[in-house]
Structures are given as C-alpha cells and as structure tokens.
Symmetry: D2
Subunit: 143 residues, 4 copies
C-alpha cells in the first residue's frame, strides 16, 4: 500500500444495548467478540451471493484471537466494527477487526479463522471467496 | 399439603458475575431464564441415571414462561433457584421456579415445557421420569 | 379499533447470529428478551428527541413478562419485532411485542414496565411520553 | 520450577449449559471469556477476606487478552478453568488461564488486567494482594 493510504475495510454499525453492558457501566469484555462475529458474517454476506453459495457446507471457526481493550464503550453508544483482511492462505484467514466510536479506537482484535468442511476437517478457501478477496484487496490498494 | 408445610423443591445455587449484570447495576432480566435452565438441568440430573438414560433422544423445549420480577439481584450475590413440579401430563411439564437471596423472593417464574422426540414431535414423558416425579411429589407431601 | 384494522406497532429488524443460537440449532429462549429490549429502546428513540429529553433520569424496569414460544427461529434468519402499546397509566406501561419471520408469528410477549426515578421510586410517565403515546395510539386507530 | 513439577493454579469447575452453546453444537467462542472471569473472581475470593477488604473500591479491567482455541467443548460437559499468576507489577496482573476437560487442554488464554481506583486511574496492587500472591507463588514452587 502507498504511504498515507487509509485502510478501507468493511464497516458494520453496532448499537450498545443493556444486554451488552455490565455493572461497571461499560460493554462487557466478552461482548466485543459477539460484535466481531456479527461483523464477519455481514462482511462475508457483502462479498456476494456467489461467495455465499461457495461457502455452503463450510464453516469458519476461530483458532486464535488477540484483543486490546483501549477505551470502554457505554450504554446507547453507536459503534462501528471495521473488518480488514490481512492474509488468506490455504484454509486460514487472518483478519484485523477494530471497534470505533466517532472515529476513536476502542478495541482492536486480530482473529485467525480456519475453514472447515462438514466433517470438521480443514478445507481450502473456495475460489469464489479468494476471487472476492482479490477484488477487495485490489480496491483497498487503489482506494 | 398440610398447613405450614414448606414446599421442598430442588435447590440450585447461582453466583452473580459481571456477565450477568447490566449498566443499571443489577442482573439483566433475560439472565434469570439462564439461571432457570441451569436449575432445570440439574433438577433432571438429580432425578438419577435411570431418568438420564430414559431421556436420551428426547428434548424439553419451553412453550410458555411467565416471570414476575419482584426485587433485583446484584453483582457477587449468591442466589438460589428452587424448582418445583406443578404438574406432569402427557408430553407437558409445568414447573414453578423461584429465585431467592437469603430467603427473600426476587423472581418467580412459571414454565411450561414440552417433551419432544428427535423428529421434533411431542413425546410422552418417559415412565422413569414419571416414577421419579411420583417419588419426588411424595417426598414433598411427607416432608 | 374498528374491525379488521391491522395493528400498527413499531417494527424493528433483528438478524440471528451464532451468539443467539444454542446446541439445539435454534434461538435460545432467553435471547428473545434481548431482542425485545432492543426493540423497546428503538421504539422510545423513535418517539422523538422531546421524549428522550423527558426521560432523562428515568429508567424503565420490567415487572412482569409472559412469553409464548410458538415456532423456533434459526441461524441467519431475519426477524422482525413489533412493539405495540396496550396501556399507559400512572408509572406503568403495558406492551405487546411479537417476533415474526416473513410474517409468521414465532414468539409473543406481554411486558409490563415500571417507570422509576433515580431514587428507584415509581415516577409518573412524563407528559411528553404520554403525548407521544396519544399521537401513536391515534395514528394506530386511523391507520 | 523444578523439572516434572505440575503447575498448581487455582481450579474452578464449569458446567456447559444450553446458554453457552451455539448452532455449531459447541461452546460459543466468546463464552470462554465468561468462564475465565468467573474463575478470576473465585481465585480472588479464595485469596481470603483480607484481600477482599483490600480490594474495596478497586476494580480490575482487562487490557489485553489472547486466546488459543484448541478443541471445542460441548453441551453438558464438565470443564475446569485453571488460573495461574504469571506476574504482578505496579498496577498490572498477568495471568494464564486454561480450560480443560478430563485433563485435555481445550482453550488457553493470556490475560492482562489493570487495577483501577474509583476514579478510573491505575492503582498499585494492594499489599494484602501482593502478600497473598507471594504465598501463592511460594506454594506453587514447593508443590
């Protein structure tokens, strides 16, 4: 990527409701993983019906997740999860997902996903998904 | 039951953790349904291995639930869920479940469960379960 | 209301994600209460900024909730929660909330809410909220 | 530590209920963070009443968390969370928490906690807690 280039991942809005908060008055730390999964699901959906069809019978499972909690979020705030592809190789996807409020960075996650078939064995990422990623990465680089 | 007799349902302890609370500083209203399901599971387990075996391939689903929220519970409190059988007929169980803290009544639930087989059709309650209930009700009446 | 009149409550979409489901492959029964609270929050927000301002320092707590589970919802389905005001008197709101998928009724809830002030005492519903309800009920009757 | 020595952290049992699982039939990935927080709470409680008193007005917040998901857990399984102190310095605790089923390692977490006072500022770990850690670490080394 060229210097000064903004990363342009997939953006997904999340509203904070009572269910998300805890007695400390902030979003409970485990719930950012829920937000992240919602965002990943919509990111895949945004990749198009062709990708959806190619993913039939496949499932993504989280193998590793590293989370930095920088600032808390509170009841009723409107957050945004940005999902960016870092790498796709074999049966593995590496993503970065960040949660922001009005542009301020609250939480940063690195997530490693394995693609499994119905028998629970690693399955190479479908060609349609790889193609969608190529386009996606391309558009990021040109953005 | 004779006057002054204490009802003697199955008792299950629950500790309140951060995950259970919300920004109002109390246990989030949906989470009492989690406590109730944990208690029902342990109530069935307490009915003995024979009942467990008889329940293989069967599943209980909640058909109706009515909940009175009388007093709130807070972080770190130790609660107790008492589960009492009200009626068992055909494929349906009627339960009362109450949540207490140091004897004080916080939440009262009435729960109607349907017993389903693997095809998702109503299934008569297994004889072993009915027998366990008979004993259970008997012991309540004699307590 | 005149015969044949459709009730026209507030509508709120909910997507089912993994976090909402359980090992039975359906939405976990407690999670409909989360959907219902999200919908109530957006229903109040839709009542306008004047209502929001009038509600400062007030909080709604659920006193009673009765839920009929008619049909299950599944992963990735798009649901809709419709919230209708049944009655508003003193410090109490009575609502009906139903969850539908493509028009089919899945879950029906009756919810009684108490309005409390910061001291935790019952507080009469603010005039701005009553006014919003009047308009709302009016528009329902004329719809 | 001497060779062959078992690490002896604090052990906390967790039963898997429906609320914990998802439509893939396994424990939902965010829920291990709930298990971990329950275990940390009981680990601190086990440190004794003196520590509890010293922690009044202080709160621990998670700053960083890295999780390896090695094997899934399923409905009704009995798990164990083992919590071990890695380091305690200034206002920061470093913990390792592992989740096992019958000795098999399922999930491994590294958690960094910051100790904050009521104003939300970093607060040095109380002396009573440090003393409890000394004893704790000592007993580990001698085990």
């Amino acid at each position: 990527m060229t210097a000064g280039m903004e990363k342009a991942g997939h953006r997904f809005p999340v509203r904070v409701y009572y269910e998300d908060t805890d007695a400390a008055g902030i979003v409970y730390y485990a719930n950012y993983l829920k937000y992240a999964e919602r965002a990943r699901t919509e990111w895949l959906r945004a990749a198009g019906a062709g990708v959806g069809a190619a993913l039939k019978g496949l499932i993504f499972v989280v193998r590793h997740c590293a989370i930095d909690y920088l600032q808390p979020a509170h009841l009723d705030e409107l957050l945004e999860v940005e999902t960016s592809l870092l790498a796709a190789a074999g049966a593995v996807l590496d993503l970065e997902q960040v949660v922001r409020r009005d542009g301020a960075l609250l939480v940063r996650m690195q997530v490693k996903l394995a693609c499994l078939n119905e028998a629970g064995r690693p399955a190479r990422l479908p060609a349609a998904l790889r193609a969608a990623f190529e386009t996606h990465l391309q558009s990021q680089e040109c953005a």
